[in-house]
Symmetry: C2
Subunit: 97 residues, 2 copies
DNA sequence: CTATAATATGCGCTTATGCGCATAAGCGAC
DNA sequence: GTCGCTTATGCGCATAAGCGCATATTATAG
């Protein structure tokens, strides 16, 4: 459990919005998240890897899908941090034009 | 008020520890912080600028010192976030040898 | 004025981050 | 085996972040 790693994982709009979706405790595949957030496949996959490396989610192979879900038994301090981050205003992605 | 900017400001050990010191509401000069955290002068100065840009602290000239203090009237969601971040374990800086 | 102290900043450098593209890998259906 | 779908990853590139060094800036004291 690494404080900076967790905070860095939160400090990116796509990752934070992915966490918002995942925070419901249900399973979400990468394809769902990438569509919901408008991210490319590789981009989404790597962001999920970052969130997973921070320990905030777990993943599970299910046929051709990988199901991500909120990690169980997270320390309450970590849950409080993520909750607090999700309480901040949503950010829009920078548009190109 | 920018969510990612705030989270990025927290996602660095020296900045987070500086915030811990500053979070007491009292004024702290850069020289105090750099000594307390073992950071060089320019490093500390820039980190404080980052925290200030995120809106978490304000500064004030006082003779040759610049006094930083926790920003007043922060939205309660932001205060909750910083509190939650400060509740996580302190990180030690990577030592060279 | 000079000297000293505290802080900010321009510069160059190194490293980290984020991205798309292409491809590999995993899995089910056939 | 092949095909199709989903996900991960190697690669190259562009940009951002972080740092030290030196110097500029701001202020006090004498």
């Amino acid at each position: 459990m690494n404080t900076t790693t967790i905070l860095s994982a939160l400090a990116e709009p796509v990752r934070l919005e992915a966490l918002r979706l995942i925070w419901d405790g249900k399973e979400h595949c990468v394809c769902e998240l990438m569509k919901a957030l408008g991210a490319s496949q590789s981009r989404m996959s790597r962001h999920m890897a970052t969130i997973k490396a921070a320990g905030l989610v777990t993943d599970r192979r299910d046929a051709q899908w990988v199901r991500y879900r909120r990690a169980a038994d997270l320390p309450r301090e970590v849950v409080a941090l993520v909750d607090a981050a999700l309480a901040l205003p949503v950010e829009q992605e920078r548009q190109v034009a």
